[in-house]
């Protein structure tokens, strides 16, 4: 694949070089990280906490998705399946089995990873467009399963899921208490993704994105790397879905539907493919837009479509990618 056809505008030569700085963050990323942590601390005092929690769940979801598209070059068009199933399992664990929230979230992550193992194992047999179509079809299968399976409650979903007590001690009924849990989950997920990208494993991931045949010729079993990356991404998507379910106390078909898979693609694209902070900004833009334009009904779909088209035609670096380009720094 020639360099002009690769998905992201990251210069070659980054692969194989360990970025300097603290925990692998370069100067610009360190500043952005500090701003993000400060915003995390301040946000619930200025904005409606439930809105910020929703945003953080989707930001984690988009970061997990970006791990695949931005760093391995795999376009999954069915990530809603892992996100939504994580939510269903967490809801079931918290409501029916009466487990504590942290166990429920872990259960959601595990089911996401488990499904990711099966889905990834099937999908990595094909590349490019076929990979996208296969992940999409598998997700549709999960959707139909959720429509019929008794434990998901079909059209009604699982409702009135209790937030429970963290570690069995701290009640999370108040939005502020829940907020700090969500913020910690998000930050842990975000740092984990950053750590993976800057690990030796992550270097191989990026090598696969740049040139898969060449990575194979260097002696790496690229299929194994792709599968592990897929499982990681799906597990984190499951965690995001589980957390969202606990925040809202409800798990529904919306979260496994194809349009959710499309939305996470849009978030990542708007923010910037292959940038660490891009998916977070993209999630804020898309969720904020849905929130403030909710009364416009189907026009939201039209606006989302227009953003897709605009991003692809004129704005392929995304918001964070453009800012990074402006300041000549990788964000």
């Amino acid at each position: 694949m020639a360099s002009e056809t690769t998905l992201t505008a990251i210069p070659t030569g980054v692969v194989g070089k360990q970025a300097p700085g603290i925990w692998g963050f370069n100067g610009g990323q360190m500043i952005a990280l500090l701003i993000m942590i400060a915003a995390l601390g301040a946000a619930p005092f200025f904005l409606y906490p439930v809105f910020v929690m929703k945003l953080l769940c989707f930001a984690l979801f988009a970061c997990a998705f970006n791990l695949l598209i931005g760093y391995v070059g795999l376009m999954s068009f069915g990530h809603a399946a892992y996100f939504g199933m994580g939510g269903y399992v967490a809801g079931h664990a918290a409501k029916v089995m009466g487990l504590t929230p942290e166990i429920s979230i872990i259960a959601g992550g595990l089911i996401g990873a488990g499904l990711g193992l099966i889905g990834g194992w099937l999908a990595i047999r094909r590349q490019g467009i076929y990979f996208a179509m296969i992940t999409m079809a598998l997700a549709q299968m999960v959707y139909f399963f959720c429509v019929q399976a008794p434990f998901t409650g079909g059209e009604d979903g699982i409702q009135a899921i209790p937030r429970g007590k963290l570690f069995g001690v701290i009640p999370l009924d108040s939005d502020m208490a829940m907020y700090w849990v969500v913020a910690v989950v998000f930050l842990c997920g975000f740092m984990a993704i950053h750590r993976v990208i800057h690990s030796p494993f992550g270097q191989v991931m990026k090598a696969i994105r740049e040139n898969e045949p060449r990575t194979t010729s260097l002696g790496y079993r690229t299929d194994d790397y792709k599968l592990v990356a897929f499982i990681l991404s799906c597990g984190l998507a499951g965690v995001a879905g589980a957390t969202k379910t606990l925040v809202f106390g409800i798990a529904t078909l919306t979260d496994v539907h194809f349009s959710m898979s499309g939305e996470v693609v849009l978030m990542t694209l708007v923010g910037g493919l292959g940038t660490i902070f891009g998916p977070v900004i993209g999630a804020a833009v898309v969720i904020g837009m849905q929130n403030y334009l909710a009364e416009m009904g189907a026009w939201v779909t039209v606006i989302q479509g227009v953003i897709f088209v605009a991003c692809v035609l004129a704005f392929r670096r995304g918001i964070v990618g453009e800012i990074g380009n402006l300041f000549k720094v990788k964000l």
């Binding site: 690769t6 549709q140 299968m141 429509v147 039209v302």
Partner: protein, 298 residues
């Protein structure tokens, strides 16, 4: 005789044949849509995510021609593909043609966005409840075949879809135009060097693929209610069909489309719970056994 057959099949014959016919009809739509996708993919290297929306536009064009211009089914069958195909040509000229030098995935994202726009606009304009479209008088009624009643329109859909599929296959495999098309699919630069206007051919091919989706939309209008979501529900199954068949062969798309429709119909009879997922399960099995698809080249 009929009793013996029923004992062998384990279900009442009318139920079985009724579902088989429904399966054939679904298969007809799978075949026509996956054929259009395959033709477009062959030349443009783009998976046309707008295809479902264009199928829906075909049905809506038929409805509009009747409601606003008083033109009936047969006129719709002629005019709707032309109108929708023309909008496809405009989309290709304005947007899609800018992406040929980029990664395939950008084409996928762009056409997905275009599909969202089209679907959203139709939902705003017509709501999501669906509009009725009557079966034309010449094709209403049913034949008594002895073992089942067959609504004439349903038989017509299968025959018409087969006709359009075979006509497409003949054009691509047996005519000079089709030869240019196949050559450009292999090596576009070389064909251009022989003095053939490849960019125009690409535009027209996209228009033709879209027109094929619109034909399927017109055929579908009297069967399903005409509504803005009718395409997006179908298109994901069609993608699975494309993965199963592989996009290498035109005849392969047709056979896979009809075959999977029949399998889906049989599943509805013998194990209804799995009828929504059976095609995806088959896709998984095919991926394990023959990753390139049944008719694909690795």
């Amino acid at each position: 005789m009929l009793d013996a057959i029923e004992a062998f099949l384990g279900v009442p014959a009318p139920l079985l044949f009724g579902q088989l016919l429904l399966g054939l009809i679904n298969g007809a739509f799978y075949a026509m849509l996956s054929l259009g996708l395959a033709v477009i993919f062959g030349l443009l290297n783009i998976i046309n995510f707008t295809h479902g929306a264009q199928f829906m536009m075909g049905a809506f064009a038929a409805w509009m021609l009747l409601a606003w211009a008083g033109l009936g089914y047969w006129w719709a069958l002629l005019l709707s593909p032309i109108i929708v195909g023309f909008t496809g040509i405009i989309l290709e000229k304005l947007f899609i043609s800018r992406l040929y030098k980029l990664d395939h995935l950008y084409g996928l994202l762009l056409t997905l966005g275009l599909g969202l726009i089209i679907e959203g606009v139709f939902r705003n304009e017509f709501g999501s409840s669906g509009l009725p479209y009557r079966i034309p008088a010449e094709l209403s009624g049913a034949w008594d075949l002895g073992f089942m009643f067959m609504p004439i329109y349903r038989g017509w859909v299968v025959v018409a879809a087969l006709f359009f599929c075979i006509a497409t296959w003949l054009i691509i495999e047996k005519t000079r135009l089709g030869a240019y098309l196949r050559a450009a699919t292999e090596r576009a630069e070389l064909v251009q060097a022989f003095g053939i206007n490849v960019p125009r051919m690409i535009t027209l091919t996209y228009g033709a693929g879209v027109a094929l989706a619109a034909v399927a939309g017109v055929l579908a209008a009297p069967i399903y209610s005409v509504n803005p979501q009718m395409g997006s529900n179908l298109i994901i199954v069609v993608f699975a069909v494309v993965v199963i068949g592989g996009m290498g062969s035109i005849l392969g798309s047709i056979v896979t489309g009809f075959g999977l429709g029949i399998v889906e119909g049989l599943t509805k009879v013998y194990y209804p719970e799995a009828s929504a997922t059976v095609i995806f399960v088959i896709m998984a099995i095919v991926l394990l056994a023959r990753p390139a698809g049944l008719f694909g080249r690795a």
